[in-house]
Structures are given as structure tokens and as C-alpha cells.
């Protein structure tokens, strides 16, 4: 059987339907019939195409990119006036969407500053207050809720975060049987997420914070696959935040509202920390388990902790050189003796 390669094919004067030797083939009569048939087929095809495309009617206004958005440059390439134009555009969008005129700034890193985070495992009680303070500070989507911090309840006898429970739900914490390990972006000095991004939408700033240009990200999620700390989040749907929940104090590279289809993650609250304030997760912490500061300043609290406490990083073997350290209360004895330092589970309550 030959479907389309008939040994005999012939054409009526106008149309071109093949007249196969196959008994089942159609024999077309006049030009007009052929024309009508083709016309009907073309109309049917167009109708089907329009039908297929019909969901696009529901596209949100913000999805229909403007020329302004389309030509907006990469963060690093914008001149001051271009940045101002972008800030104005974003402010207008936020105003329109949430009826709030935001205080949106592009805050640059400070000279001579490299931020690190230190988290005291002896103190953390697993209350997850940091998780929600972060969501409120950073204008994360509430539905579906995006959280940058994941607190893992750790069983005794291990420091391996993979053995922990992510979904513990207790009336009170701590329960005396576990300790708690909050995980968020570790702001690595050798960040695999930055290396893999095909469009340089994410990069490491001079103060050590890895940031994302939400207007540049193409949403391939390669960085999400590359992160050994599962620190990155993707906007699978358009973020939903009630107007009254919007934090109007915004940074271009930090907590301005995002759209669907882009990555986001912890940025050490850079709109706060770059002007000398502390991250929201630290401020809310009821036990003082969280410490933050400039590691280049030998007098800073974090520098002192790194020098004197028993510090470790998560998944050191991943080789990403995190700027997020975990430590226990115990100090190293001055002599450098080999005193054991058990995790002080009970002493966590404050």
C-alpha cells in the first residue's frame, strides 16, 4: 500500500488532490468542490488554532510585557538613570497592584564588608518564628506560600541534615528529644547556582550575598537543581499577597514583589543589612540563636564566634565554602585541649 507515493497521481485543473490508484482514495470532481473543501479545511484549521490559543485571554496584565520591560537591561549594565527608570516602573506596578506606594531602592554593598551568618545550635528551639518573619519581611507569596528558611528537627546521634524531620508539628518546642537545624541560603563563596545560570541572572555581590535579578531570570531552575542546601525557590504560580501584608520597604535585588516564573531565595535581608540593620530572621529569634555581621571586622560578634566557638558548616564536602556557620555554645579551651563538646539539647530554652 502506498499512502502518498502513488504511482499514478493526477490533478484536477485547479485543485491538487491526489487521485490515487488505491481504491479508497477520493476522487474529486470539480474545481469548485475542491475549492470549497479547501476553504472549509482552512477555516476549520484556523478555528482549531484559535481555540487552542484561547486560554491566553486570561493572561494577566503584568504578563503582557511592555516595551519598557522588554528593553530593560541586566542589573549590572544599567546606568543610574536607567536604574531610576526601572525603579519608577516597578513602583508604579506595585502601586497599581497593591495600592501601596513602595519605598523602593537599589542599595549597593558597603566597602570593606563581607557578611556571614552564625547560628547557635545550642540555642535554637525550632519555633519557626524566623521562617514567618522572613516571609513577612521579604514579600514572599502567601499562596502558594514560599519560605526561604526550612527548620529541620534533628534526631540524636547525627549532624546529617538528611536524617532530619522537615514536617514536625508539636504543640510546644523544644521537646527535649531533638535539636533543630534551620537551613537557608548559605551565601557560598563558591556558589554552584551562580556557575550554572545560563543568563547570569544570579551572581555574588562584593559583600558575599548571592542575589537574583528577578527581571532577568528566565526560570530554567538549573540553579535550583545545583544548590546543595535546597535554598532556592521558584514561583510556580503568580505570587499572592494581600495589600495589607506588603512590606513597602523594598530593595531591587531583595524583597520587591516577584512575578511567576522566576527564582528567589534568601538575600540576608540586604535592604536592611546594607544600611546597618539586622536580618528579620535574627531580630525575631526569641533565643538569640542567630548572629550576623561583618567577618572582615575582627571585633564583630561573628568574627569572635568563628574564632572561639566550635563552628562547622553544613555539607562541607560539597566544597561550596558557605558563609553560613553553625556552632555550639562551648568555646575552645585556650590550651586547645580535646574536651568533648556534646550538643546542649536541653539548654536551648530561653
Amino acid at each position: 500500500m502506498r499512502i502518498f507515493d502513488s504511482s499514478q497521481s493526477k490533478c484536477s485543473s485547479g485543485g491538487c488532490a491526489s487521485d490515487d490508484a488505491a481504491p479508497s482514495a477520493h476522487r474529486l470532481g470539480t474545481t469548485r468542490r475542491s475549492f470549497l473543501r479547501k476553504g472549509a479545511a482552512a477555516i476549520g484549521g484556523m478555528a482549531a488554532l484559535v481555540g487552542a490559543l484561547s486560554p491566553l485571554r486570561d493572561l494577566d496584565e503584568t504578563d503582557l510585557g511592555s516595551i519598557e520591560k522588554f528593553v530593560q537591561k541586566h542589573y549590572k549594565e544599567m546606568s543610574p538613570s536607567e536604574m531610576q527608570a526601572a525603579l519608577d516602573r516597578i513602583s508604579r506596578e506595585v502601586d497599581k497592584r497593591y495600592q501601596i506606594r513602595p519605598d523602593l531602592k537599589d542599595i549597593r554593598p558597603m566597602d570593606g564588608v563581607e557578611f556571614v551568618y552564625a547560628l547557635n545550635l545550642s540555642r535554637c528551639i525550632g519555633c519557626r518564628k524566623c521562617v514567618y518573619a522572613c516571609v513577612e519581611e521579604n514579600n514572599q507569596s502567601r499562596d502558594p506560600q514560599i519560605q526561604y528558611i526550612r527548620v529541620v528537627e534533628m534526631p540524636r546521634g547525627t549532624l546529617d541534615v538528611e536524617k532530619g524531620n522537615h514536617h514536625y508539628d508539636r504543640p510546644t518546642v523544644p521537646d527535649g528529644e531533638h535539636y533543630y537545624m534551620p537551613v537557608q541560603c548559605h551565601q557560598c563563596a563558591k556558589p554552584p547556582c551562580v556557575k550554572v545560570c545560563p543568563v547570569e541572572a544570579t551572581w555574588q555581590e562584593p559583600d558575599g550575598i548571592t542575589v537574583i535579578d528577578y527581571d532577568w531570570c528566565i526560570g530554567c531552575r538549573y540553579c535550583e537543581a545545583a544548590c546543595p542546601y535546597w535554598a532556592r525557590r521558584f514561583n510556580f504560580a503568580e505570587p499572592k499577597i494581600a495589600s495589607e501584608d506588603i512590606n513597602p520597604r523594598m530593595g531591587y535585588l531583595s524583597n520587591r514583589p516577584r512575578h511567576k516564573g522566576v527564582m528567589e531565595k534568601c538575600h540576608f535581608c540586604l535592604h536592611r543589612t546594607r544600611v546597618g540593620e539586622l536580618p528579620a530572621c535574627l531580630e525575631i529569634c526569641p533565643t538569640g540563636a542567630r548572629k550576623f555581621g561583618n567577618v572582615l571586622d575582627p571585633q564583630s560578634e561573628v568574627s569572635q564566634i568563628l574564632k572561639s566557638k566550635r563552628v562547622f558548616v553544613l555539607k562541607e564536602e560539597a566544597g561550596t565554602l558557605p558563609r553560613f556557620f553553625y556552632y555550639f555554645d562551648e568555646r575552645y579551651p585556650r590550651s586547645g585541649g580535646a574536651q568533648e563538646a556534646p550538643a546542649d539539647v536541653e539548654g536551648a530554652g530561653a
Binding site: 500500500m1 499512502i3 502518498f4 507515493d5 502513488s6 504511482s7 499514478q8 497521481s9 493526477k10 490533478c11 491538487c16 488532490a17 491526489s18 488505491a22 479508497s24 477520493h26 481555540g51 487552542a52 490559543l53 484561547s54 486560554p55 491566553l56 486570561d58 493572561l59 504578563d63 510585557g65 541586566h74 502558594p144 526550612r150 529541620v152 546529617d160 541534615v161 538528611e162 522537615h166 537551613v183 550554572v196 545560563p198 543568563v199 547570569e200 532577568w216 531570570c217 528566565i218 526560570g219 530554567c220 531552575r221 535550583e224 537543581a225 546543595p228 542546601y229 535546597w230 525557590r233 521558584f234 514561583n235 510556580f236 504560580a237 503568580e238 511567576k260 516564573g261 555539607k315 561550596t320
Partner: protein, 425 residues
């Protein structure tokens, strides 16, 4: 230029010509492609939340299909290697079909990547800031598009020359490109493997054996696809499939599948015997962790299919086309599972910090995948539909196919890529 436009117009017209079975086939494919387009439009509006992907399992069916199809595209052209090395005459005219298949597969690959993007509207950012050579994804962009252009050139040039009744200048415009395409075929699959292998965060992928395994499995699934396709083409067109070619392909499949199974077993041994903390994903894939065992039936189906196919191929009964075809179908499906659900998804389970979230594709996501498959097969059908009359001299510049009845029993002209002249068999 005008001639070329006429050529394209005639090709376009020709793609609508065929008997009722052809029309039904094309209509069905078009309908499925449109349903897929519809599903994709929904995804555009509501975001990737319409898929089963999550922050935990952030790549799913799209990337799985992409990975599988890169292999198919690579293998279709790597068929040329035996032609070149062994001077195997039977395979010579298969090259053109291999290249046509490669073009369709690559276009499907690119579509699968595009539908996976959260912001397809920003694709032009690739031209503005291209993180080359650091990001393996940029390497993939280069090799995939380069491969597409190479194969488009080779097919397009040969077909257009036949249409113009010119002798193709093979030494200049064909052979060097075919040779480059062969090396390039290896590169597209290697680079795609490196995309995963390079991630230290995912122990399941961070294994040097993945790239060789990719090549081996592609060399099995690709020729298996060509074996089936050639028979379909032989059945429905004037092109007579040389039986010897099918048997040569069978041997390629046999060797490649054997190597693939060997590499797979090496990997399984390493994971389960050492049984380190890094084997969690493999455990999940083969046996599940706790009550989470969504992939277990998939991988064992794949294992079973591969085992049966291997058995058939090693027995003399694979010389019968019916059994060979069964083996080919088992191989294609088995490798599709192994490289899709079996390679992409488990790397995300558990997450790097130990959370287990399973992946279940949604209907919308499946429809998008089916749509892309239908569009790709549609494209391949059209390209074969045009190529055969042109290469057999029934559609030329002075003879529009549809206006002029061809002489009965027109023979297909062998396209001898490496030979100096075209010979009619």
C-alpha cells in the same frame, strides 16, 4: 531565490497530498499538537503550577523527554559512523532518514526546553548575557542549535540539489558536514549528560558513568527507532528498505544495549554494595523509601523490557522482523523510562536536605508533552513525505509532482552520501 520559494511552496502543497490514511494520520497529529498547544497556553497563564513540579522536584516530564530525545537525535546521525567506517553500502541511503529524524528530534528537544522555562518571554536574554563557558546549559544551547543547523543544511542541500537536478558537490558541501555532524552528535549527548553530571549537589547524577551510559542507551534506542521507521516508510511508500540494512542496525542495537546494561549494572552495584548516604536516590528509584515508591513500578518495567529485548536480540529469532520489532519497541519504551522517570526525577528525591516529596505529572503537563511529540512526528512525516518524491526524481524543478503522473514503479534513488555519484538501484 524565486526557484527556492517555488520549491518551498511545492513542498508545502505536497505535505497536504495523500490518501485518506495519510490525511487521517496528519489530522490526528495536528489535533494532538493543538491540544498540547492549548495546554501550554494554560501553563503560560497560570504558571508552572499547572505541572506536577515543585521546589523539591523542580524538573519533571519536560526535562525527562528532552534528555531522551537528545539521545534519539544523536543516535540518528551516529548511524553514519558504521557507514563511514565499514563502507556499509546498505546503510548509505539511511543517512538521509537519520538526519531528517535528527532534525525533528532536535526541534522537539528545543520545544521541551522552552515549555520548561518559567519566563519564555525572556529567552532573548540568552543573547545579551550568555554565561559561557561556565554554565553547561549555554554549552547545550550552542551544541543543540548547531546540530540543528548542521542537519538542516545536509538534508536541505541534498534535497534541493535533487530537486534542481544538480549534482550535489559532495566533497565540499556534504561530506565535511556529515563528518562534523557525527562528532557533533556525540557532543550533544555528552554535553547534555554533563548538564547533570556537573552538579555536586545531586549525588545520583554526580557520576562519571552517566555520559557513557547516555551514549550507549542512545545507540540502542536511536537505531531501534530507525528500524521501525524504515519499515513504516517501506510499507507506505515506493522506497524499498534493504533488508540487510535492518540487520546491520540490529547488530548496532544489540551491541549498544549490551553495553548499556553493563554500565547500568556497574552503577547499580556501586550504589547498593557501598550503600553510602549518597545512595538514597537509587534506593528510592528501585525500592522506594518508606511508603514513597512512585517510581518503583516504572523502573522495574523498564528493567523488564530491557531484559526481554536483550534476550530476543541475542536469540536467532531476532532475524525475523516481527520479533525484531517487538524488541525495538521494548527498547524504546524501556530507555524512555530509564532516561526520563529513571534518571531525572529520582535525583530530586530526597532533596539535598533530606525531604521526600514525590512527583506526579499532571494531565496538563502530559498533554503538553503529547503535543510536542505529535508536532515532532508531524514534522518528521512531512519531511519524509517531501523527501521521497524529490529524491526519486518525481518532484523536480521542471516537474511539479502533483501535476504530472509519474511513471509507474518509479524507483527510489539511493542517496550515497560518501559516493561520488548517485546510483539508481
Amino acid at each position: 531565490m524565486k526557484n527556492y520559494a517555488t520549491f518551498l511552496w511545492r513542498c508545502f502543497r505536497l505535505s497536504f497530498v495523500g490518501d485518506w490514511r495519510y490525511q487521517m494520520w496528519m489530522l490526528t497529529l495536528t489535533a494532538i499538537a493543538l491540544i498540547g498547544l492549548n495546554a501550554y497556553c494554560r501553563q503560560l497563564v497560570y504558571g508552572l503550577a499547572t505541572t506536577g513540579m515543585t521546589d523539591q522536584v523542580s524538573w519533571g516530564l519536560y526535562i525527562a523527554n528532552f534528555t531522551f530525545l537528545v539521545g534519539m537525535a544523536a543516535a540518528a546521525v551516529m548511524l553514519v559512523i558504521p557507514v563511514y567506517i565499514y563502507r556499509n553500502k546498505e546503510l548509505h541511503d539511511l543517512v538521509i532518514f537519520g538526519e531528517l529524524a535528527a532534525v525533528s528530534f532536535i526541534i522537539m528537544c528545543l520545544l521541551f526546553v522552552v515549555v520548561d522555562l518559567g519566563r519564555p518571554d525572556r529567552m532573548h536574554h540568552l543573547f545579551l548575557r550568555f554565561n559561557f563557558p561556565l554554565s553547561m546549559l549555554t554549552w547545550d544551547v550552542i551544541v543543540l542549535n548547531g546540530y540543528l543547523l548542521l542537519n538542516l543544511h545536509i538534508c536541505g542541500y541534498l534535497i534541493y540539489c535533487a530537486y534542481r537536478k544538480r549534482e550535489p558537490r559532495k566533497a565540499l558541501f556534504v561530506v565535511p558536514f556529515v563528518l562534523i555532524a557525527i562528532v557533533w552528535a556525540v557532543s550533544i549527548h555528552t554535553v547534555t549528560a554533563f548538564l547533570y553530571v556537573g552538579l555536586g549537589a545531586r549525588p545520583f547524577w554526580n557520576s562519571a558513568i552517566i555520559a557513557p551510559r547516555f551514549l550507549a542507551s542512545a545507540f540502542a534506542a536511536g537505531p531501534a527507532f530507525i528500524i521501525l521507521t524504515l519499515q513504516v516508510i517501506g510499507r507506505f511508500t515506493s522506497y524499498a528498505v534493504p533488508q540487510k540494512a535492518l540487520m546491520t542496525l540490529r547488530q548496532i542495537v544489540l551491541v549498544a544495549l549490551t553495553i548499556n546494561v553493563f554500565l547500568l549494572l556497574s552503577e547499580v552495584f556501586t550504589e547498593f554494595y557501598a550503600d553510602t548516604g549518597h545512595s538514597a536516590s537509587t534506593h528510592y528509584l528501585f525500592f522506594g523509601i518508606g511508603n514513597d515508591r512512585a517510581l518503583v513500578p516504572w523502573i522495574w518495567t523498564s528493567m523488564g523490557m530491557t531484559a526481554v529485548a536483550l534476550l530476543i536480540l541475542y536469540l536467532p529469532l531476532a532475524r525475523s522482523l516481527r520479533y525484531l520489532n517487538i524488541a525495538c519497541v521494548l527498547i524504546i519504551v524501556g530507555i524512555w523510562i530509564e532516561k526520563g522517570m529513571g534518571l531525572i526525577v529520582p535525583a530530586f528525591i530526597p532533596t539535598p536536605i533530606g525531604e521526600i516529596v514525590e512527583y506526579r505529572p499532571t494531565i496538563n503537563e502530559i498533554l503538553v508533552c503529547l503535543g510536542i511529540w505529535a508536532a515532532g512526528i508531524l514534522l518528521f512525516t512531512i519531511s519524509v513525505r517531501i523527501t521521497i518524491p524529490v529524491l526519486s526524481g518525481r518532484l523536480t524543478i521542471d516537474r511539479p509532482y502533483t501535476m504530472d503522473p509519474s511513471p509507474a514503479g518509479a524507483e527510489f534513488t539511493r542517496v550515497d552520501v560518501f559516493g561520488s555519484e548517485r546510483s539508481t538501484s
